[in-house]
């Protein structure tokens, strides 16, 4: 049953990404291109996605546990760490450069050609590089 929920959720996520146009790098880069021909579509996508999620968090607050047992994610200390800031900026730079982020890059694998595969493989390498990068993370020790 947990598996069915995962499969359903992944399927809807992929379908939503396809319908919303977020698998199209022109749309994503159009949104980020505030000095060019700006495309506001992404705001509708984000707004649309936040609505059901906000309801879900409200429901989660009132329930003791998820349907399939275990616990709801605990809210970690709300600190803006250096890893969060630097990581998000690195992520944003790559997102602007290619116009793809992790979800859409997977949703588009079946039709994205070799370019999509090369992006996904590079992204996987980047993810694996995070472990040694976190050990270095010189930015988080500065000044302390």
């Amino acid at each position: 049953m947990r598996g069915l929920i995962s499969l359903t959720s992944g399927s809807l996520f992929g379908l939503g990404l396809l319908i919303s146009g977020m698998v199209d790098t022109n749309r994503v880069q159009g949104w980020l291109d505030i000095f060019g021909d700006w495309d506001p579509t992404l705001a509708f996508v984000l707004g649309g996605a936040i609505l059901p999620m906000a309801v879900a968090w409200r429901i989660a607050e009132r329930r003791r546990m998820p349907l399939k047992g275990g616990a709801f994610p605990v809210r970690i200390e709300q600190k803006i760490t250096a890893d969060l800031a630097v990581g998000s900026m690195i992520f944003g730079a790559g997102w602007g450069l290619a116009g793809l982020c992790p979800g859409p890059s997977f949703a588009a694998i079946s039709f994205g050609g070799w370019q999509g595969i090369l992006f996904v493989v590079s992204m996987a390498v980047g993810m694996l590089l995070t472990v040694p990068a976190k050990r270095l993370s010189f930015w988080s020790h500065r000044g302390a």
Partner: protein, 143 residues
């Protein structure tokens, strides 16, 4: 004027949010693409590997099936320049894992929870993304 892409965007967005809601209320997990994928790659998500694999199977197979069944096609319109693709992929992968989330985890799931970290991360990557497009498209002209 409301363009058609805004309507598709909003409908697609609602479906994305529904996916996240099911994942949270059903399995008690935050639907973050980089976390689900990255946790499989580096082994940190070994306990929930089955959930992760099935999520990814749905994520890849459903758009593929939807295109076949609707008889339509889609394109990423992504660049064919490996000099852009490889660094972009590396930055996206490294940055998302370092920040512990990307557009789905921090953006969709974080903002809707009014999480300060999610909102801050979204601010950082939106600004960096805007600067990236400004630099590489308008100033350097490489994309």
């Amino acid at each position: 004027m409301i363009e058609q892409s805004y309507i598709y965007g909003a409908i697609g967005g609602l479906i994305i949010g529904l996916a996240g809601a099911i994942y949270l209320l059903g399995n008690g997990r935050i639907m973050g693409a980089s976390g689900i994928i990255g946790g499989l790659l580096d082994g940190s998500g070994r306990d929930t590997a089955r959930d992760r694999v099935l999520f990814i199977v749905g994520l890849i197979a459903t758009p593929w099936l939807a295109l076949i069944l609707s008889g339509t096609s889609s394109s990423t319109n992504i660049t064919s320049d490996p000099v852009v693709l490889i660094p972009a992929g590396l930055l996206v992968g490294l940055g998302a894992r370092l920040a512990n989330g990307c557009t789905s985890g921090h953006g969709v799931c974080g903002i809707s929870r009014l999480s300060l970290r999610g909102i801050a991360a979204t601010g950082f990557y939106l600004v960096a993304g805007g600067v990236s497009v400004l630099l590489f498209k308008h100033i350097l002209g490489v994309i």
